[in-house]
């Protein structure tokens, strides 16, 4: 294989990782703050994709791109208010069971409303085509997708690091009792974080609807690799999750590139195993007292 092709595969792998990131960051945030392992996260991604399909005839792709994540985020607030908040203080296994059930309900609801067969949706004409970056020819849509994803990730980082909202959230991750003792109620922050995390999953659904098959079980396809990313990256670490997503994409892409495609999925689990063996808290995982 030529060096050129290998370089292409490395670049493509990194880009591939960015899609997981939109899902994984939300998962990581919701778990860090509320201790909820949200197995229903993939379902919100699926709902985002289906909403794109429903809203596009009225709003176009551009309109759905704004509206669908907002609708999904509002669903996130409702779910947080009615379900998540009952489980913040309980054993994580209970919230795991609850979100597992929620994922099944959501998937079956999609099946009942839209039918089991996959539905069609294409890239809007104005986003089609190829771009040449040197001799590397790449899909224009994916370059746009990358731009949007990077913008969202940067905005999320700024929100968490540079605003008073972010300071409370980060303090809440480390020590919720202390935040409470200081007279700050975490409740609205929990809702906001659920809206953000779940909204990001909805956004991923919008962005991937034109290039992936849209079917009720599509959430299941993305949730497992997203969890692997969170585990490799380490809990509570923003950049850990970012690095892990890129690493997972890279490993998968290179495995396909060098002719070991059959092992490309197995490789990311092997990577997870190795990371857990040598760094049990993940690559950049912080020590969070209540999860130790």
């Amino acid at each position: 294989m030529s060096t050129m092709l290998l370089a292409q595969q490395i670049l493509n792998g990194l880009l591939d990782g960015v899609y997981y990131l939109l899902i994984a960051l939300g998962l990581s945030l919701i778990f860090s703050l509320g201790g909820i392992v949200n197995l229903a996260h993939g379902a919100f991604y699926a709902i985002g994709a289906y909403l794109t399909l429903v809203l596009s005839p009225y709003l176009g792709f551009g309109g759905s791109f704004v509206a669908a994540p907002v609708v999904v985020a509002l669903m996130g607030v409702v779910i947080e208010r009615t379900l998540f908040r009952r489980f913040y203080r309980s054993d994580p296994i209970l919230s795991l069971l609850m979100t597992f059930g929620l994922a099944m309900v959501a998937e079956q609801a999609l099946r009942m409303i839209f039918g089991a067969p996959p539905l069609s949706y294409s890239i809007p004409t104005w986003l089609r085509g190829q771009v040449a970056i040197g001799s590397f020819i790449y899909s224009f849509y994916r370059v746009v997708l990358l731009g949007i994803a990077i913008t969202c990730i940067a905005a999320l980082w700024l929100l968490l690091q540079k605003t008073s909202f972010g300071r409370v959230v980060r303090a809440g991750v480390q020590n919720p009792d202390m935040v409470g003792a200081l007279g700050i109620s975490l409740q609205p922050y929990m809702s906001a974080v659920a809206a953000l995390g779940i909204g990001l999953a909805g956004l991923a659904g919008v962005l991937l609807a034109p290039i992936y098959s849209i079917h009720p079980a599509m959430g299941q396809e993305i949730i497992t690799p997203a969890f692997v990313v969170v585990v490799i990256g380490g809990l509570g670490s923003f950049w850990g999750v970012v690095a892990a997503a890129l690493l997972v994409g890279l490993v998968k892409g290179v495995m396909v590139g060098i002719g070991y495609s059959a092992a490309s999925t197995a490789a990311i689990y092997l990577l997870m195993l190795l990371v857990l063996l040598f760094r049990p808290r993940g690559l950049f995982g912080e020590r969070i007292t209540r999860f130790e």
Binding site: L119, S122, Q130, S213, K252, V256
Partner: protein, 418 residues
């Protein structure tokens, strides 16, 4: 658990009441199972998971068939009742098949799409001497080393798919001296199909520029597309299944690749999901909704009226299988599996909605029938979301033996376990 201490007299009464209520409801069902005026048919097929979308068409078609059979007087004057279940996976499929046969006393089982589940259901069928008609499992092994006396196949075997679409590739000069790049689903179905397609390739003087196995959970094909672009093949061959075909087609269009595309396994629902402009290439099908025969037209009309969308090829399989069973039982005036099997093995002919009647080949229980290769229409010729391809004439042609597309004894031989 602290709950134990809260188990009061009140909750005990509630539980007891609940149990009484539930058993009260289910008791008539048990009685019904034994009444003689109903014939039960079991329908098992995956309704969830990556084959679920096809399973839904299968179930809709089986319902339609039973409705029509009952409207025409049922089986031997008795009403037909269809018991439908999600087969989920090979283990669950076998458990449910056993329950349908032992408890519900079904006359036969129809359905399935996964070759692995076909095998476990066939084992139960053989042990209980009950007929099983496979409507969606393709692997040659099911008609070869894993063949069973009590299993018949309405679905075509992989060899039939390969030889049908292979004719189109040969005609278009895409085989002899040409390079293929294949992507194959990394599980039993894909491996079986790859083996058969390699045999076809070697027999016709072509070779592979690349040959990748794709994990069944892969959704992103960009890494493969970059390799394909580099390899510049004469034909991209897709041996994938389910949603992966849709994902591939959407991304192939996204990356703007223009090499001819074809595949050896296919379902029209996946082309519909890829959509206009994304669906490209030439693919084999057992049946499609544009077939111009009276039987197919009537089926398409009835299905579209009932479900507001046209049937796809998996619907044909379950519809035809149910109709075949009804015809056999009515002709024989018996619903006993051994008698039906003897009837099938003697070469009884059945209407399969095509130009020629079909029959089961006695040596491996494969339905011999016509197949078709469909080619995607260019975007400007597409009038609606369903009619997005043009069909080849029936394969084999009218003057040819139906068996010439099936695997020969040398390619795939079956010895029924005694």
């Amino acid at each position: 658990m602290s709950n134990n201490s809260q188990f009061t007299r009140r909750s005990l009464l509630k539980t007891a009441g609940g149990i009484a209520l539930v058993s009260g409801i289910s008791a008539p069902a048990i009685l019904r199972a034994q009444t003689a005026d109903v014939i039960k048919i079991g329908h098992l097929t995956p309704r969830t998971g990556f084959l679920g979308p096809l399973g839904e068409y299968a179930a809709m078609a089986a319902d339609l068939a039973v409705e029509e059979i009952n409207a025409a007087g049922g089986m031997m004057g008795r009403k037909v009742e269809l018991l439908k279940e999600d087969s989920v996976n090979p283990q669950t499929a076998s458990t449910k098949a056993e329950r349908m046969i032992e408890r519900d006393k079904v006359a036969c089982i129809i359905g399935e799409i996964s070759s692995a589940s076909c095998l476990t259901i066939a084992q139960v069928a053989s042990r209980t001497k009950t007929l099983f008609i496979n409507t969606g499992g393709n692997s040659d092994a099911l008609r070869g080393k894993d063949c069973q006396r009590y299993m018949f196949h309405v679905e075509s075997q992989n060899s039939m798919y390969v030889k049908t679409v292979g004719r189109s590739f040969l005609r278009d000069g895409l085989v002899k001296g040409k390079k293929w790049y294949s992507l194959t689903a990394d599980y039993a179905f894909g491996h079986d199909l790859l083996k058969v397609s390699k045999r076809f390739m070697e027999a016709n003087g072509g070779n592979f520029a690349g040959d990748d196995l794709v994990p069944t959970d892969a959704t992103d094909f960009s890494a493969y597309l970059l390799k394909i672009r580099e390899a510049k093949p004469d034909l991209v061959v897709i041996n994938l299944a389910g949603n992966q075909i849709t994902n591939f087609l959407k991304q192939y269009a996204e990356f703007g690749l223009t090499f001819p595309v074809g595949g050896f396994g296919f379902d029209t629902a996946l082309a519909w999901a890829a959509g206009k402009g994304n669906f490209v290439g030439t693919w084999p099908v057992v049946w499609h909704h544009l077939l111009d025969t009276p039987g197919s037209k009537a089926f398409v009309t009835a299905f579209t009226n009932k479900y507001k969308k046209p049937p796809e090829n998996q619907a044909w399989g379950d519809y035809v299988a149910t109709k075949i069973v009804a015809k056999a039982i009515n002709d024989l005036k018996s619903a006993e599996s051994p008698k039906i099997i003897e009837h099938f093995e003697k070469g009884a002919k059945f209407d399969v909605l095509k130009t020629r009647e079909g029959y089961f080949r006695a040596s491996d229980h494969q339905l011999m029938h016509e197949m078709y290769a469909v080619t995607a229409l260019p975007a400007d010729k597409i009038k609606n979301q369903w009619d997005i391809f043009a069909s080849s004439p029936a394969v084999p042609a009218a003057n040819e033996d139906l068996e010439i597309i099936a695997a020969t004894k040398e390619e795939n031989s079956c010895t029924f376990p005694s």
